[in-house]
């Protein structure tokens, strides 16, 4: 008997999960996974931060803690600390009470709440994302109901850098109240960030055209190792007087991927709008998941609010970001030594977990088949997948693909 859902077709697989599956199914002893966006140690292992383990152990022993519902907008001590972390404790915005934080289901959840709020409360309908961008940006906003989908130019393939003129031109053509998704630092997937001067130009256009900026901040601290440095763009915009949103993920910088810890920080011009704004977000959240998960937020809140633990955590993020920088330097060095055709300085000028290698889809396929090294068809590689043990092998594969593979 045919079921009522028998007409439901198989949905297309999401690339990154399909690539990871292919890697997992591969039995080759030298296989390398350069596709998924998670940190790995030099032994290719996931890394639970020592400060996280320490905090969880203490939490488990604390019988005063329970599993009661959090408020709909989350654990306040977490949101306050997270908002302060991105805006900076000297922020005029904070001093004037013009920011509010809402705990969310990691970065994705923050973007979704942001999109739902902008769509249903402010009635916005147009949004822009960079070309390229993280694969989920488009789906999030479209599922929230935005119907005017646009891209702004970003990646300059010829120079393997930022196409600032294209970006400014495209933003300049945007209609008022268009929501502009910006990557605060460590652009995913390219690793290319605007310079401070370029951020100023971007801000000028956004202000002139009355666009609404939203900063996707998934790598604060993780990118350069310095929390303040990585938040420079967000703080610049906030100090300049913009109303904006910041979506924060603690997946990478705390290594809490599966606990779904995120914050949506909203910066406003007039503090008195905050209660009404929060009440509307409350309605959206209640109808979606009621209240956010307790565990991960409690871990982060404990660490951010304890000076000793906070310092331990800063050491952890320096560990992660410096290993990444070492691997970048190492890969570039090897490619230059091999004399691989092309320019490779973008590998060290780019920042964060990802690098847009510049490899073509054909070359990516060549490398996967011959060397069992897995990356996304866009040429995006996760630098964390590189280790002192496999970096020679990867350099060799890239060299081979560029010399002998398809174009």
């Amino acid at each position: 008997m045919a079921g009522r859902f028998s007409e439901v077709s198989q949905a297309a697989a999401i690339e990154v999960f399909a690539v990871v599956k292919a890697f997992n199914d591969d039995a080759h002893e030298k296989k390398v996974n350069l596709s998924i966006g998670a940190y790995r140690t030099d032994d290719s292992k996931p890394w639970v931060l020592p400060v996280v383990r320490e905090t969880e152990t203490a939490m488990a022993a604390d019988t005063s803690l329970n599993h009661e519902y959090l408020p709909i907008l989350g654990l306040e001590s977490f949101s306050t600390a997270a908002t302060k972390m991105v805006l900076g404790e000297n922020s005029a915005v904070l001093k004037e009470g013009r920011a509010t934080g809402i705990q969310t289901l990691s970065g994705t959840g923050a973007l979704r709440v942001a999109a739902d709020t902008l769509k249903h409360v402010l009635k916005y309908n147009s949004f822009y994302f960079s070309n390229p961008t993280w694969g989920n940006h488009k789906m999030i906003f479209e599922h929230a109901g935005f119907t005017e989908t646009h891209q702004y130019r970003y990646w300059d393939a010829a120079n393997r850098g930022l196409d600032i003129n294209g970006m400014l031109e495209d933003l300049n053509a945007a209609s008022a109240n268009s929501v502009i998704i910006l990557h605060a630092c460590a652009h995913n997937p390219t690793g290319v960030d605007p310079t401070q001067e370029q951020w100023k130009q971007i801000a000028d256009v956004i202000e002139a055209k009355s666009l609404f900026p939203i900063f996707d901040t998934a790598y604060q601290g993780f990118a350069s190792g310095d929390l303040d440095k990585d938040a420079w763009a967000v703080r610049y915009f906030a100090d300049r007087g913009f109303e904006l949103m910041v979506t924060q993920s603690f997946a990478k910088n705390f290594g809490l991927y599966n606990e779904r810890v995120g914050n949506l920080a909203v910066v406003v011009k007039d503090a008195s709008v905050i209660p009404a704004l929060r009440s509307q977000v409350t309605l959206l959240v209640r109808g979606s998941y009621s209240n956010p998960p307790n565990h991960g937020a409690r871990v982060v809140s404990t660490v951010l609010n304890n000076p000793k633990l906070f310092e331990e955590w800063r050491t952890c993020i320096r560990t992660m970001s410096s290993r990444i920088q070492e691997m970048r330097a190492g890969l570039r060095e090897r490619l230059e030594k091999l004399g691989t055709p092309g320019l490779w300085d973008h590998i060290t000028s780019q920042i964060g977990m990802f690098s847009y290698s510049g490899l073509s889809a054909g070359q990516v396929k060549f490398i996967a088949e011959k060397y069992h090294i897995y990356m996304l068809s866009s040429g995006r590689i996760n630098i964390c997948g590189l280790t002192t043990k496999n970096i020679d092998y990867v350099a060799e594969a890239i060299n081979d693909a560029v010399l002998n593979g398809p174009k």
Partner: protein, 426 residues
């Protein structure tokens, strides 16, 4: 929008603020956003907190409390957490559909280990953000793939059911359920409304411990409902938030769900582990679609993942791990069944004592519904005026509809509560 005192004050504040670059150009984009309606239940709790009467009772809380009125972390949960800590598990992303181990454990608990649906692999089960999140995935899936954009709820139903389904653009209708004359189930009304529904309608059912009334159909009534809905080719969507918590028996509480499966309905199911494992804030839940075959289940699964990814990518793992740790370990599972029976028994005992105390007070009203009803909540039958009096004169806090949370009653306060209820209803 009316100019309230608060609004005038905020306007004054704005006028007196020195002009800075931030305020000089234009007003906030958010300036015209209206304050949302206050949450009725939250309002009850807020008022309760402000009350200084030492005898005050909060009967609005939707979370279990022990006999000392304290939150209760189940011993089996603490044990599971200790095991998890010792395993030093990683924090890597869960699959979009969540932990496979959790999904299997959850749906086996609901359907029974020997369920043919599970043996045939006909279920598409995903981890959801507790019950709400599971309903949300379900409503999004139905809005996309179900031909009729209408859902039928029992009257009354959990307040949040409406916004969840309206958010995805579905129309909400109600079938008769609660009979205020008997404080019981309006079986004839429900059956008539099922009969008159268009064929192929989507019908939401509370699997056990109906929220907010506590009124459940009996097994014969469930059978009749199953037969009628089958003949109407209706699609039943079960919301099961209290399996084990209602009667103390996980199998008894799953009776309706399993009956419908046996009768051949391909149901939808939303499960929550908030109450039965006390995991409220950990957001452990599951959403399931029962399909005609394994291939259909795989296709449906792929589509559900497409809906989850732009919501939150993948679910939080902590609560799910606690659940699967408990359910996959025979000793812990057994201990958990004892814990959950303990909670159910305390609630049932409070029902018995409340009714007995009312009778002792000399009340001549029929209070049998207090013990006939089941689960966390009880629809007392008190009017809004009586509720107001109970709050004002006795500091007993509950919602206007006369709903009380049995979890707020203890052996220390049940006599006082009966005194108050009798006083306002005699």
């Amino acid at each position: 929008m009316a100019v309230t005192g608060a609004k005038v004050f905020s306007l004054l504040k704005t006028n007196y603020k020195p002009l800075t670059a931030a305020t000089s150009r234009y007003a906030s984009l958010w300036s015209n956003v209206e304050m949302g309606p206050p949450d009725a239940i939250l309002g009850v709790t807020e008022a309760f907190k402000k009350d200084t009467n030492p005898n005050k009772i909060n009967l609005g809380v939707g979370a279990y409390r022990d006999d000392n009125n304290k939150p209760f972390v189940l011993p089996s949960v603490r044990k599971a957490e200790a095991i998890m800590t010792s395993k030093a598990l990683d924090k890597e992303y869960a699959p979009i559909s969540g932990s496979a181990e959790f999904c299997h454990a959850a749906i086996s608990l609901a359907f029974g280990e020997g369920s043919s649906v599970l043996q045939e692999g006909r279920n598409a089960t995903v981890q959801g953000i507790s019950g709400t999140g599971s309903l949300r995935i379900g409503s999004a899936f139905l809005a996309k793939f179900f031909p009729i954009k209408t859902v039928w709820f029992p009257s009354p139903t959990w307040g949040n059911h409406v916004p969840i389904f309206k958010h995805v653009g579905m129309e909400v209708k109600q079938y008769r359920y609660y009979d205020p004359k008997t404080c019981g189930f309006d079986f004839n009304g429900a059956m008539e409304d099922f009969k008159n529904m268009p064929d192929g309608s989507l019908v939401l059912l509370h699997a056990c411990a109906h929220n907010p009334t506590g009124v459940d159909p009996n097994p014969e009534q469930w059978q009749a409902m199953s037969d009628l809905l089958k003949s109407k080719k209706a699609l039943p969507f079960f919301d099961m938030a209290y399996q084990g918590f209602a009667s103390g028996s996980v199998d008894k509480d799953a009776f309706a769900v399993r009956k419908f499966l046996d009768d051949g309905h391909n149901i939808l199911l939303a499960q929550s582990f908030a109450k039965n494992m006390g995991l409220y804030g950990e957001r452990a839940g599951a959403f399931t679609v029962v399909c005609s075959d394994k291939d259909g289940a795989a296709r449906v699964m792929s589509q559900i993942k497409i809906l989850i990814r732009p919501l939150y990518s993948n679910p939080p793992i902590n609560g799910a791990r606690i659940v699967s740790t408990i359910l996959s370990d025979a000793a812990l599972r057994s201990e958990w069944l004892t814990d959950v029976k303990g909670m159910a028994d305390r609630i049932i005992s409070m029902r018995t004592q409340l009714r007995a105390n009312l009778e002792k007070e000399g009340s001549t009203r029929n209070w049998s519904h207090i013990t006939d009803q089941i689960g966390m909540f009880c629809f007392t039958g008190m009017t809004p005026a009586q509720v107001e009096k109970l709050t004002k004169e006795f500091s007993v806090y509950l919602t206007k509809d006369g709903r009380i949370s049995m979890a707020g009653i203890t052996s220390a306060n049940v006599a006082y509560l009966a005194k108050g209820m009798h006083a306002v209803t005699k």
